[in-house]
Symmetry: C2
Subunit: 211 residues, 2 copies
């Protein structure tokens, strides 16, 4: 059942080869959990020896960490909001990329969330980092707030807490929807997630506002 990547045996630099192996690792996470992603499986799929993989990654924990970091970098890159336009339109593009990423990499994504919540410190660290990057975008001028279009959200402690809650809501909604979409379409889901943020910010009076 080996599905060796075309070109896996062509001459690559060690860095390129490592990158290629990480890409393969992330792809294998699309439909299996992190626990199911072994060095044996990667070796078989890549058509190379276990020994070489240990050479690249050291041990199973370091291998998992490298694959998850790679996946996290992919997620962050793919969900970058477009450079111009109205903040809410840009948020919608970013949210759509997030939903599509989770849909395409469902098992791996869920196993990251589970691992992070379940107390794996490495996974928790990477997970929190991703959350931090995604949340920061909401408050960063170059991204979704500021510029000629005006702030999407003022940076206050209250709003940071609300954005944190909104992030948890997004994650729950996407995972629930992937598991059991019912009559909700992808567009419905995108509308709910995107509109939820201004609805929360505008619908809850901010008594702590200082900014």
């Amino acid at each position: 059942m080996s599905t060796t990547t075309p070109g896996a045996r062509t001459r690559l630099s060690p860095a390129q080869r490592r990158e290629q192996l990480l890409d393969l690792g992330v792809r294998l996470l699309a439909d299996r959990s992190l626990d199911e992603l072994s060095i044996d499986l990667l070796a078989e799929e890549a058509g190379i020896s276990r020994g070489l993989l240990y050479h690249y990654f050291g041990n199973k924990v370091a291998f998992h960490e490298a694959v998850v970091r790679h996946a996290a970098d992919d997620l962050i890159a793919q969900t970058a909001p477009p450079p111009g336009g109205e903040p809410l339109d840009r948020l919608l593009v970013s949210v759509a990329a997030y939903v599509d990423y989770v849909t395409a990499n469902f098992e791996g994504y869920v196993s990251l969330v589970k691992g992070a919540a379940g107390g794996n410190e490495t996974l928790r660290g990477i997970y929190e980092e991703v959350r931090e990057v995604l949340s920061e975008r909401i408050f960063t001028e170059q991204d979704l707030s500021g510029d000629a279009h005006g702030d999407l959200i003022t940076d206050t402690p209250r709003n940071r807490l609300v954005v944190r809650g909104w992030s948890a809501m997004c994650e729950e909604l996407v995972i629930s929807w992937c598991t059991e979409p019912g009559d909700i379409t992808r567009d419905d889901l995108l509308a709910i997630i995107t509109q939820a943020l201004p609805a929360l910010i505008e619908g809850i009076p901010d008594t702590s506002a200082t900014g």
Copy 2:
């Protein structure tokens, strides 16, 4: 360091004794995780033998399940909305009880969430049951919707998804706030959580509404 419960040695029926042990188990979860709650510890705190505890609970897994079920029943009972009044006022009372419950039982609550998210099937089942009960309230006439005051929320697939997202947001907000309250007061937090629900329902146009 034994803090034997007063009256633990008085004559009780087996059912009363079991209940009392479960109460003690839940209290011990206030400042320790489920992993740290051993039969040895409960035996020491209750001043009874390990053998007797095995008699009551069978094994460690069954013991943990019984304690968590007991804690879940407490949470459900304590967060019951008051019988009359405006839906939003009743929701506020219920949310306040939830926040106070999590604050008072923080370590145990977090370990339940972790255990459920981390793939412990028993904990996951109890956790989902609690969520289900709390969410159902939002849609049940006798509780927070319906009656002379009008529905808080119409029961549509879209609104069920939104309530699910709102629940995840509540959990995240309460856990974040307990961990690092910053300048946010308990009243701020209660206002955010309570007002978030109508803000979401009213602020997101429902294109799927059928009810």
